[in-house]
């Protein structure tokens, strides 16, 4: 019988994540004043709490279930397991470790994985080659991208981890929600068989209700962000992404948004801006630089540029009807899943995405868009120019496009980002 340490060693990168979050939090707590990076402080506290519990659960021998970020973590609450977000681990270790996780990208790259696939998967793939993870099962939808569909079979074929796939259709229609709802149910049942547990859907229902409350808080928060100046600092965006994909369905997630809302309300009341003066209001319709999230703080303080929204922070789903029958429940879950950040934009045509961006630009009084085009996200590869034209024609604002790798500092460096944005901002003034 393996001892607690051996059991805990099934998720070594999670231990790395815990350590990096703890030290980062300690630095913020001990060095910065209360007003310094509150969203990072609050976010780390809440995520840390969950990660600590998960590590303890792993030490107790609960099954380790890897999940794609597009598979909502609250849906896994029907099991007693340790849920590990594959993409979250890659990117948040990349954001928090001083040396990033490029070592692991290179490991899998040397194994033959194409350079143009997603670093969100490359990180954990590389870690798996080193046996730093020992998953009991992995669950993923067939969305949002080719990189997901192409990369995940590696876990099954090379590492022999059972891989459970929920097929997500392209196009948002009634029949799609019904089909994907059924896929969610089947995949959770299959996962239960693999890990030897019966899914407890009542327990999951509670987590969904909790997330309904989170959605209400987010809606309130996003209404406040429409104010000038924005009452939320830029760092909120990556931390909110972390909360969404790591701790959805937990009381810590609810607590995170409650605390952030409180903070935003105070700033709104006092018309405060985190960086001192808000000079430019930007929307980032895609992702931020997870290889170095300090860019967020630099933009706030050096350029006075607010990031009002990024892709993880403008996808609000309808509340899930948790009071009706099972079919209605899974239908709601499917609808939420298909409206998830990045999944929404990838599982339907571009037209709604363009409309959403135009609406957001107007509603949030944006001065510009900054479109980060990731090397891996081919599903977004044909939209930047369409969006640029739409914003120009409909709202009269410009858009800067920057090519990059979300999780790899070597493709477009932080300095290159700063230089490009600085020059762009000069054209706005």
């Amino acid at each position: 019988m393996p001892n607690k340490t051996e059991m805990g060693n099934r998720i070594i990168p999670y231990q790395m994540l815990l350590n990096s979050m703890s030290t980062t939090h300690e630095l913020i707590d001990k060095i910065l004043p209360d007003s310094g990076l509150p969203s990072l402080r609050i976010g780390l506290e809440e995520v840390l709490s969950v990660v600590r519990k998960d590590i303890e659960k792993a030490r107790e021998g609960l099954p380790i279930v890897g999940y794609h970020f597009a598979f909502q973590p609250e849906y896994l609450k029907c099991f007693d397991c340790v849920p590990i977000c594959i993409e979250g681990v890659s990117f948040f270790l990349g954001a928090l470790l001083l040396s990033g996780v490029e070592t692991y990208y290179d490991l899998i790259g040397n194994w033959g994985h194409p350079f143009h696939t997603c670093s969100a998967q490359k990180g954990v793939m590389g870690m798996s080659l080193e046996d730093l993870f020992k998953f009991d099962a992995i669950i993923t939808p067939t969305a949002p991208c080719d990189s997901t569909c192409a990369s995940y079979p590696f876990f099954k074929l090379q590492k022999k981890y059972p891989l459970i796939i929920a097929d997500m259709p392209f196009l948002h229609e009634e029949k799609s929600y019904k089909y994907y709802g059924e896929q969610l149910k089947l995949s959770l049942e299959e996962l239960g068989k693999v890990i030897g547990q019966e899914p407890d859907f009542e327990k999951m229902r509670n987590a969904l209700e909790l997330e309904n409350d989170v959605t209400k808080l987010k809606m309130e928060l996003f209404d406040l962000i429409k104010a000038v100046p924005s009452p939320i600092e830029n760092m909120f965006n990556p931390i909110s992404a972390a909360a969404t994909i790591f701790i959805s369905g937990t009381s810590e997630n609810l607590s995170f948004y409650q605390r952030m809302l409180e903070l935003a309300k105070n700033r709104y009341k006092n018309k405060e801006h985190h960086g001192g003066e808000e000079r430019v209001r930007s929307i980032w319709p895609y992702m931020l630089t997870f290889f170095d999230i300090s860019l967020c703080e630099w933009l706030d303080r050096e350029l006075g540029m607010s990031i009002l929204l990024d892709i993880f922070n403008y996808n609000l789903s309808d509340l899930i009807d948790t009071k009706s029958d099972s079919d209605t429940l899974f239908y709601g879950m499917a609808k939420k899943a298909m409206g998830w950040p990045m999944v929404k934009q990838s599982s339907e045509f571009y037209y709604p995405f363009l409309d959403d961006c135009i609406r957001m630009a107007k509603d949030f009084s944006a001065d510009c868009f900054i479109y980060t085009q990731s090397i891996a996200c081919k599903q977004f590869g044909a939209v930047p120019q369409l969006l640029r034209e739409a914003l120009h024609d409909e709202v009269g604002i410009p858009m800067l496009i920057i090519d990059f790798d979300v999780g790899d500092a070597r493709m477009t460096s932080l300095k290159a980002f700063k230089d490009k944005i600085t020059m762009f901002v000069q054209t706005l003034m």
Partner: protein, 383 residues
């Protein structure tokens, strides 16, 4: 006599051809599609000419680069470029499915930038089929419903009458015959003294997807007869299997074959995957469902997420059957699907001690010397 300058094979050298012109001169419609998961038999039964979109000969992506970032597939960009320059103005319809992240966006780009460009007045209907990403019973039900809806849309847009089961059966027979002819020709390609080169086989496949199938069948019968009577290629060149991304230009296959090899088999979109199996006819009932079944359950392309083992088994069997000396895996840069399949193939083939070369390239031959050096070195390495 050889297949050099064969008029049928030469059709593949350009996009427009005399058969398409003749077809349209009779007021009949030509419809474009990117992917083999589109049910061609159904289009044929609707008296439409399905034309597989390619970009043969186009080395430019300048115009397309405005709309598609450099991380997208240069093959797809080249087709869009060609369309933006008017190369596909002859189409009377466009059929897209979510084959990959690159091609599925052609739905919007053709809509907004090709068919709405200044001076282009024709109304070109577009259709979309949402393909599942895994092979399951539920997935089949989904796909078949999509095909049923697709049929209704075609009836509404083009035929204005019901496409009957008999129409479908007739088309199935013509397409089954087409696949049978291609299989027979393929058998003459994998023998010890192959009767046809890989480049010629590719040309044949592209021509076959660019003209009416009845005429293609006549041409294929002629070629089959000719090949049966011809002498095979007797040489000591290495026998290669070519696997991976879309190849729709003989520039690349000729580069391999001019380096001292013969491509005697393949697993390519424009290759053998297309003709391995037929639509089941049975008692003639529900031909549409049988069309869906063949497309959905056939040997998949790498877009199908959980079907890798079947794809590798095909490779393994074909390597034995065609007495392959080495496998060239290739991917067009930024093709995640072929790239990851190739990664897995590469390890498994090495485990089996089968020589393998994993190449990345662009759709157009931008770096011929690098490729040639790598191919020549690989061929020298094969014992």
């Amino acid at each position: 006599m050889s297949l050099n300058n064969d008029p049928f094979l030469n059709i593949s050298n350009s996009i427009m051809n005399s058969y398409v012109k003749e077809w349209q001169a009779k007021s009949k419609k030509v419809v474009g599609h990117y992917c083999t998961y589109i049910p061609e038999e159904l289009l044929h039964a609707a008296n439409l000419l399905p034309f597989r979109i390619r970009s043969t000969g186009n080395k430019d992506t300048d115009l397309a680069d405005i709309y598609m970032v450099r991380f997208t597939c240069s093959f797809v960009r080249a087709t869009l470029d060609m369309a933006l320059r008017g190369g596909y103005d002859f189409l009377d319809g466009l059929f897209i499915c979510n084959s990959c992240d690159h091609t599925r966006r052609m739905y919007e780009l053709f809509d907004l930038k090709v068919f709405k460009r200044k001076g282009f007045e024709k109304k070109v209907p577009r259709f979309y089929i949402a393909m599942p990403h895994i092979i399951t019973d539920e997935g089949f039900e989904w796909y078949h419903k999509e095909i049923e809806e697709f049929k209704e849309e075609i009836e509404e847009t083009y035929t204005h009458q019901i496409i009957s089961d008999q129409d479908l059966l007739n088309s199935i027979k013509i397409f089954n015959k087409n696949r049978d002819l291609l299989r027979k020709i393929h058998e003459l390609r994998i023998i010890d003294a192959p009767k046809i080169t890989g480049s010629e086989a590719l040309q044949m496949s592209m021509s076959n997807s660019s003209i009416p199938k009845e005429l293609a069948n006549q041409e294929l019968e002629r070629i089959l007869k000719f090949l049966k009577e011809s002498e095979g290629i007797k040489s000591n060149v290495k026998r290669i299997m070519l696997v991976g991304s879309e190849v729709d230009s003989t520039d690349f296959t000729k580069l391999i074959e001019d380096s001292g090899a013969l491509i005697v088999s393949d697993s390519l979109c424009f290759g053998s995957r297309n003709f391995l199996d037929d639509v089941h006819i049975g008692d003639g009932n529900n031909p549409l469902k049988n069309i869906s079944k063949r497309l959905y359950y056939r040997l998949s392309c790498p877009r199908m997420m959980d079907d890798y083992d079947r794809r590798f088994d095909f490779l393994r069997n074909e390597i034995d059957r065609a007495n392959i000396d080495g496998v060239i895996l290739q991917r067009i840069n930024n093709c995640d699907l072929a790239g990851c399949d190739n990664m897995l193939h590469s390890h498994r083939l090495k485990d089996l001690e089968i020589p393998v070369l994993d190449l990345d390239r662009e759709f157009y031959q931008a770096d011929t010397t690098r490729l040639q050096t790598r191919i020549e070195a690989f061929l020298e390495m094969i014992k």
